[in-house]
């Protein structure tokens, strides 16, 4: 079982490495990062190096997260749409192993990009003579957990709908949009506007908002780390809790993806 899992992971990683789409997205992301960072190399002073390093680190975390987020969706939709999954399903080995390998391969890339980001931050801290804060590492690890949640959600959507619909779905139906909607509806209800319809809408929105996975469930509790880059014992505990939350969301998405795959027919023709 383990051998089959790593065989699939190896194949997915080759797909990432050789895909022009992934290469193009990667180049765009690196390009954006370089454009954002270049001014720091020419216009920085010793006084603001720490803030610059923090910005670089945050940018790296976000861009790494962005690069890896869609990879699970990419693999799933590639194999489902060109039917190459048939070649896998007609060989011994549970289809769940193949599914797990997609989550794992995307997570490997997420971890690798965040590790690369952490190493770049460390190298810059040495170059700029800024004391390296463990908060940089903390944020990189936290970004891996956030990426895992998006990877899981997009992979699940990729098993059900067209990849474009999946992307639109995650852009429109996420914690942020429903949070804003909830806030707006709450304000309207508080001001007595809209009547029973708005009240009912608010109920629906609240239910969806509570159900949707959060990217950073302990953002309020760990907000200090982002600012000061100092990590208390309690912050590490919250990081552990984030890991568990991320694991739970991934497990739920895995089960939903498995269910979606079981319901699919893989005939190439009728």
């Amino acid at each position: 079982m383990r051998e089959r899992l790593w065989l699939h992971v190896g194949s997915h990683l080759r797909l990432f490495r050789r895909s022009r789409i992934v290469l193009a997205v990667g180049l765009v992301i690196v390009g954006f990062w370089v454009l954002g960072v270049l001014p720091f190399f020419f216009g920085g002073t010793d006084g603001n190096r720490f803030n610059q390093l923090r910005q670089v680190s945050q940018q790296l975390a976000v861009l790494g997260w962005f690069l890896s987020a869609g990879l699970g969706l990419f693999v799933t939709s590639t194999h489902l749409r060109n039917k190459s999954v048939q070649v896998i399903l007609t060989r011994p080995g549970s289809p769940q192993i193949w599914l797990a390998s997609i989550f794992l391969a995307a997570l490997v890339v997420a971890a690798a990009t965040q590790l690369a980001g952490a190493l770049i931050t460390f190298a810059l801290s040495v170059l700029w003579s800024v004391p390296y804060q463990v908060g940089f590492l903390y944020l990189a690890i936290d970004s891996v957990f956030e990426a895992a949640i998006v990877i899981a959600m997009l992979t699940t959507l990729g098993a059900v709908v067209h990849p474009v619909v999946a992307l639109l779905g995650i852009v429109l139906f996420n914690e942020g949009t429903f949070g804003a909607l909830r806030f707006g509806l709450s304000m309207m209800v508080a001001q007595g506007q809209g009547g029973s319809f708005v009240a009912a809408m608010k109920g629906v929105v609240v239910a969806i908002h509570e159900t949707l996975p959060m990217l950073d469930p302990f953002a309020t509790q760990t907000g200090d780390v982002t600012q000061s880059l100092r990590v208390s014992g309690q912050a590490w505990a919250y990081l552990g809790a984030s890991a568990l939350y991320s694991l739970a969301v991934t497990a739920m998405c895995f089960l939903l993806s498995d269910l979606a795959l079981r319901r699919r027919s893989f005939a190439s023709t009728t």
């Binding site: 194949s11 080759r14 050789r18 070649v87 011994p92 080995g93 289809p95 192993i97 893989f266 005939a267």
Partner: protein
């Protein structure tokens, strides 16, 4: 080896359209060691039947057993099954060799290099082993499919339109590989439109028409003429008699006289040939081709429907 009982598969017909019945209750038994052809026109249900044998399509009703088990995705039974899909749906981002090793290792075969090299050579694909599959031609992808299906020496081979995209030399090489595998005891089930090829390989065939089995017999029985006749040809001379006993439809072509003789009249005909000292060029029992038999059966089925 394979048993199908009352297999029904219906596909959803889309919005406000009735379901489409791809298979309308078929029964088939395929014995171990057989080489079995699944014939039928487009939409007859061949690929659907193969999909059910592989567990890729859930039957609406009926029962399928392959190697004694109900097929399901990822079953351990597939260790002994080789499948060639109709479309070249392989992992395009891998090279030919990478994909073949990947598939073989999923099948549980570790040491594939020697057999893979032999098959690559035999199908004239060795020089392309480091080519990415998505950069291969259609015929090359089909060869990759053939090799991946044969690499682990399966007990059962399920082939969907296996000759598709192959050049004549590759068809010959593939036919030899199939016959060798069958001689080693591999059961072969192939669906194809190329009836001439099926006739050369298969011992038994089933003809599907609109989701039903309209014929299931040996190729020998299907190609046996209802009114057998001998096709004869003689070297034509100026002195040969105008009529020979039992010879029907005589025609002169390139200095030879061709015609047919009923079995009952063959002795009298040959006696007369001897008596007239004519040269008999050939005399053979006429058989229908599988294509003729197929057309007769399908036309009959259409009339009955």
């Amino acid at each position: 080896m394979i048993a199908i009982r009352g297999l029904v598969v219906s596909y959803r017909g889309g919005f406000r359209r009735p379901p489409v019945k791809a298979l309308a209750g078929i029964d088939l038994t395929i014995d171990a060691g057989d080489c079995f052809g699944l014939l039928g026109h487009n939409g007859a249900g061949k690929s659907t039947a193969l999909g059910c044998l592989l567990g890729l399509i859930r039957p609406t009703a009926g029962e399928v057993t392959v190697l004694g088990e109900r097929p399901r995705a990822g079953s351990e039974t597939y260790r002994h099954v080789g499948y060639l899909p109709e479309e070249p749906i392989y992992h395009g981002h891998l090279t030919v060799a990478e994909a073949l090793v990947y598939y073989a290792r999923l099948q549980g075969v570790r040491d594939v290099e020697a057999r893979m090299s032999t098959l690559l050579e035999r199908l004239d694909l060795a020089q392309w082993r480091h080519q990415r599959i998505d950069r291969c031609s259609k015929g090359m992808k089909q060869k990759v499919g053939i090799i991946q299906a044969l690499l682990h020496e399966p007990k059962l081979l399920l082939l969907d339109e296996p000759m598709r995209g192959l050049d004549p030399l590759a068809v010959m090489a593939f036919r030899d590989l199939l016959l060798e595998a069958n001689a080693r005891g591999t059961t072969i089930v192939l669906s194809s439109h190329l009836l001439g090829e099926v006739e050369q390989i298969a011992r038994h065939v089933a003809i599907l028409d609109r989701g039903r089995v309209v014929a299931h017999d040996s190729v020998a029985n299907l190609t046996r003429q209802r009114e057998p006749r001998y096709a004869v040809s003689l070297a034509a001379t100026d002195t040969m008699p105008a009529d020979l006993p039992g010879l029907s439809q005589p025609t002169r072509v390139n200095g030879e006289l061709h015609g047919t003789v009923a079995p009952a009249a063959l002795h009298d005909f040959l006696d007369r040939v001897r008596a007239e000292q004519l040269t008999l060029v050939s005399c053979a029992l006429e058989r229908a081709t599988l294509e003729e038999a197929y057309l007769n059966i399908v036309t009959e089925a259409t009339h009955h429907a």
